[in-house]
């Protein structure tokens, strides 16, 4: 990695920009631009107190994050190897800027010039990110337990009330998934959990590609073509 304090446009960033820009399944039409990398790098330094790596406790110190109900999952996503595009598994203890950037790049907005195929690629990528956040034990399915955990986290700011309802909400949601993806089931059959395919099907009308974006990553999207 090395010191990355150099100005935008420097060759140090080019490598990173390529890594974060190209989704595995689509040609490189769009990526995080140099300016954005520079801004993010500045923020990275600020968070890590000018160290090379970020640890969980760095994230936990972000004041605005403190009242986010799904804080643990968000932080977890940054340390999850599955989100690094390297087909890794498990989690790491500390991340460098590259990993930070790769995770961030999941929140890029889609470009207007995308073909239908590329759009689908972006969509899968974003949904995979969400899926990985839910699928904590990395077995390819979101089980009922895991889903309950998600909803519980989501409602964790609303006190006892939320905790109690969370379970039934998750059950209802799971029931819905099962009925959408399986159709008919015999009473003795068992639905193990949501696979990624079911997950895709489930959020078919959700238009994730136009929702899971951060305006921050929207500056000058065309800089890094090629």
């Amino acid at each position: 990695m090395g010191a990355l304090q150099s100005a935008p446009g420097q060759p140090e960033y080019t490598d990173l920009a390529e890594k974060t820009g190209c989704p595995r399944f689509s040609p490189c039409v769009f990526s995080v631009s140099f300016e954005q990398i520079a801004v993010l790098h500045k923020r990275f330094k600020q968070l890590s107190h000018n160290e090379e790596t970020l640890r969980r406790d760095h994230f936990e110190k972000i004041p605005d994050l403190a009242c986010n109900p799904i804080r643990a999952q968000i932080i977890g996503a940054f340390f999850d190897k599955r989100n690094y595009r390297q087909n890794g598994e498990g989690s790491v203890e500390e991340i460098g800027f590259e990993e930070f950037l790769v995770v961030m790049s999941h929140f890029r907005p889609p470009s207007m010039h995308f073909t239908e195929e590329q759009r689908e690629g972006i969509r899968r990528e974003k949904l995979r990110f969400l899926f990985n956040m839910h699928d904590t034990d990395n077995d390819g399915t979101i089980t009922l337990e895991e889903y309950r955990h998600v909803v519980e986290e989501l409602l964790s700011r609303s006190g006892a009330l939320g905790k109690e309802t969370a379970k039934s909400i998750a059950d209802a949601a799971m029931l819905e998934v099962a009925s959408i993806s399986m159709g008919h089931m015999e009473p003795d059959e068992f639905y193990e959990g949501i696979t990624f395919e079911h997950f895709l099907k489930l959020l078919d009308g959700f238009e994730i590609e136009s929702k899971m974006n951060i305006r921050f990553l929207n500056m000058d999207t065309a800089t890094m073509c090629k």
Partner: protein
């Protein structure tokens, strides 16, 4: 503002009313037959309307007072057989009822027309309703004119702005999809403000230029100054919400485009109001200084923000009021309407933007009001708003047609043609240019197709006409020419664009609205994503959209909701609220379907809880999933429905022989159920699981009889009258789909008696008076409770297809 009145010529009107009244009563029956039949009806209506003036109700009081003495006679005369002079047995006093009668006739005409269009197969698929209504208006106006009478000034600006417009705007504001609206607010504002300004100045300026060039031949255009041109431009440039709604509701375009065009049409009101007043003010003077322009900008801010502020204040007041209405549920809906209307009037009083006030009022009050009021009140509000707005809309289009025939027209080919062309050109340039700028800031870019639809959807409508109508002829000698041009533009946009937009949407394959209902999973992920994006923004250290939204939400939850929402629901997170709504809806659907015939659509399959429950811990699910999760109030609500409609009735039936029911009139469908026996057994299992899922202890499935009865009869029937003192207890017929609460209260009081009563009750033929059954053992205490219960019937099984529950 003007309100033209005319002294009624009594003789002729008596004649026509007498002739028409028998036909009038027959009209509803014949309304749906065929075109000639409807034409006849139309004639009848025309005879009635002939030579009459449509006025505001308030204006007619002096007229009525003249007939007061006659009324006294009439009251005493009936029933006596006496000489003609002493007591006229039958007296005609049309003037007495004229105004309300004519209003009713217009409304009736409008409603029948609307009804008729949907009865003609395929017609409503080709031609938008608004076009048909204008044609009807043209016909009506033409017939009035042929009859040689003065055409009533139906689209009087006063009537339009005070009576016809508010319901439509309130409907739009109250049911405004807040989320997409707020997400696209920037775009909408740019289109509404900059776009409208651009249109006004472009059209006005170029019109002036054309008028200057044309000096040679057409003398009328010679005297046209710059300011009248700009005034005309500002009138004609605003996209009309009524026309847009009428057309866009029919083409089912995707949410983004809909909210962009519709939002623009709503928010450009402030611009139009300011430009209109500004140019009207200065066209007399003839010059505008920079200072005036500056004042205009300030005035715009005042008008727009003032309107929003007035609306928000009344919205909060309405929400606060609704906090205390839990004991008088019946007037709950009224608060919503009255506060909104007062907001509108207050804003109009100061020449603020009434439309923006209404929008703000509706949008602000809705989340709180909905949490406070009962489900029945919510349904009432929804239906009333929809009814009013659709009648208003219909009337507006009909009146537009009538006014076209009526108006003193001055047709100038150059002026009209240039106006129409400029309107189109300005719109296209405006949209394309603004989109180019906006796209630099938008995450989701507007494609070329989107731009086309936005430009093409810029329909003009009755607001422009009314504003033109308001111009005073002595200030603006060109008023008639303006009106003609405005009407032409309206007709062009509504007919040409309105009729072709649907095929064009199909042709371009613009994304349509997704009809799918919001599922619980989508709601979970919406929430999840909100928090995720907020979190990521925080990590980036970037205070963006999500960050502030999160802050606002937290503020709302912490302070505002506590003040404005009564009871525990104020603490309910959105997801839980959504879940409860969904849960209740399914409970209602389940009840409605009688627990067997059709399953709620959200659960189309046979998957049940035991399929997804981890195998390790199968049995305790009923126990652990039972009721403690729900807050008390909601739990009761859901429980009531289920208990009264499923469990109780089932228990009753189970305690007694099915075969005694064969004589029951509701038993007709029994055979079918025997045929479906296999299915029912299967469903029984499912119901068990459904109940489980609905967090109510499992109950066996409904009997076929019950479901039959419930399906066959009108769920709205509410025949219990708690006013007879001699019968303190009202026994509700169990087979009738009474309000669940009503049944429920009875259950609570007389569990012991039930078992004996059932057989009898089930056999009762149902009639309006039948459900009353006297019970001597119970006292006035129960009566009281029952009364209260009836005043707030609570949720009932009258859910409809368009999911009023879900936001």
């Amino acid at each position: 503002m003007r309100c033209v009145r005319r002294a009624a010529s009594p003789q002729g009107q008596y004649q026509s009313s007498a002739a028409a009244s028998p036909d009038d009563s027959a009209r509803p029956a014949g309304s749906g037959r065929s075109l000639p039949g409807r034409g006849l009806l139309l004639l009848t209506v025309l005879v009635l309307l002939e030579g009459t003036v449509f006025r505001l109700g308030a204006a007619s009081t002096p007229d009525v007072s003249g007939h007061d003495t006659k009324d006294h006679h009439k009251a005493t005369a009936i029933g006596h057989n006496s000489t003609k002079k002493a007591f006229p047995v039958l007296d005609l006093d049309y003037g007495h009822i004229q105004t309300p009668f004519e209003i009713s006739l217009w409304v009736l005409l409008a409603s029948l027309m609307k009804l008729g269009f949907h009865l003609i197969p395929r017609l409503s698929g080709i031609v938008p309703e608004s076009c048909l209504l204008i044609v009807v208006g043209l016909l009506v106006g033409g017939l009035i004119k042929i009859a040689g009478e003065k055409v009533p000034p139906v689209l009087d600006s006063r009537l339009f702005f005070l009576c016809l417009l508010p319901p439509i705007i309130l409907d739009a504001g109250y049911f405004l999809p807040i989320r997409p609206f707020m997400e696209n607010l920037g775009t909408i504002l740019i289109f509404a403000v900059v776009g409208t300004l651009w249109n006004a100045f472009f059209i006005g300026g170029l019109l002036y230029a054309v008028c200057q060039i044309q000096t040679g031949n057409s003398s009328e255009l010679n005297g046209l100054g710059l300011l009248p041109c700009l005034l005309f431009g500002s009138i004609i440039s605003a996209v009309d919400p009524v026309a847009v709604l009428a057309v866009f509701e029919e083409i089912h375009i995707n949410e983004l485009l809909h909210i962009l065009v519709f939002g623009e049409s709503l928010l450009n009101d402030a611009v139009t109001v300011v430009l209109y007043h500004l140019f009207e003010e200065y066209s007399g003077v003839g010059t505008v200084t920079v200072m005036d322009g500056f004042l205009g900008i300030i005035s715009f801010l005042v008008v727009a923000l003032g309107g929003v502020l007035v609306g928000a204040i009344y919205g909060i007041l309405a929400a606060f009021t609704s906090r205390f209405t839990s004991h008088t549920r019946v007037i709950e809906p009224l608060f919503v309407f009255v506060y909104s209307y007062i907001a509108y009037l207050s804003a109009e009083m100061f020449h603020l933007s009434g439309i923006m006030a209404l929008i703000a009022c509706g949008a602000v009050m809705r989340p709180y009001v909905e949490a406070n009021i009962s489900h029945k009140s919510h349904t009432t509000i929804k239906y009333f708003l929809k009814m009013w707005s659709s009648v208003s809309e219909t009337l507006i289009f009909i009146f537009l047609g009538v006014a076209t025939v009526d108006g003193p027209h001055f047709w100038n080919w150059t002026f009209v043609t240039v106006t129409v062309i400029l309107c189109l050109v300005a719109r296209v340039i405006g949209v394309v240019g603004l989109t180019y700028i906006i796209n630099k800031f938008r995450i989701v870019k507007l494609t070329t197709k989107d731009q086309f639809i936005i430009a093409y959807g810029g329909l003009r409508g009755a607001i422009a006409f009314s504003l033109g109508f308001l111009l005073k002829e002595d200030h603006f000698p060109e008023r008639n020419m303006f009106l003609t041009a405005i009407i032409t533009v309206i007709f062009f946009t509504v007919f040409v664009q309105g009729m072709t937009i649907k095929p064009l949407v199909e042709l371009l394959a613009v994304k349509k609205k997704q009809e799918a209902k919001r599922s619980i999973n989508e709601e979970i992920h919406t929430q999840f994503l909100d928090h995720l994006l907020t979190g990521i923004e925080d990590i980036c250290g970037h205070y963006g959209h999500h960050h502030w939204k999160d802050k606002l939400n937290r503020f709302n939850k912490k302070y505002v909701k506590k003040c404005l929402i009564a009871g525990e629901r104020s603490k309910e997170p959105q997801l839980i609220a959504f879940y409860h709504k969904m849960e209740m809806k399914q409970a209602i659907q389940l009840v409605e379907s009688g627990g067997g015939v059709k399953m709620p659509s959200a659960m189309p399959s046979t998957v049940s809880m035991q399929n997804i429950q981890p195998k390790k811990l199968p049995p305790p699910k009923t126990v652990e999933r039972a009721l403690p999760q729900l807050p008390k109030g909601r739990e009761e609500e859901i429980r009531k429905i289920l208990r009264s409609n499923l469990q109780r009735t089932r228990q009753r039936l189970h305690s007694y022989n099915r075969h005694t029911l064969v004589a029951d009139p509701y038993e007709d469908g029994f055979d079918k159920f025997i045929l479906k026996k296999q299915k029912i057994i299967e469903l029984e299992n499912k119901i068990k699981e459904m109940n489980n899922y609905l967090t109510v202890p499992a109950a066996p499935t409904d009997s076929p009889t019950m479901s039959r009865a419930r399906l066959a009869s009108d769920p709205q029937a509410f025949s219990v009258k708690p006013d007879s003192d001699s019968v303190p207890i009202i026994q509700v017929d169990l087979a009738s789909p009474q309000s669940p609460d009503t049944v429920n209260v009875m259950d609570e009081f007389r569990r012991a008696d039930q078992e004996e009563n059932q057989g009898l009750m089930m056999r009762c033929p149902r009639g309006p008076s039948e459900p009353k059954k006297s019970e001597d053992t119970e006292g006035a205490r129960d009566q009281q409770k029952l009364m209260r219960c009836l005043s707030d019937p609570g949720p009932s099984a009258d859910e409809d297809e368009d999911e009023p529950f879900l936001p």
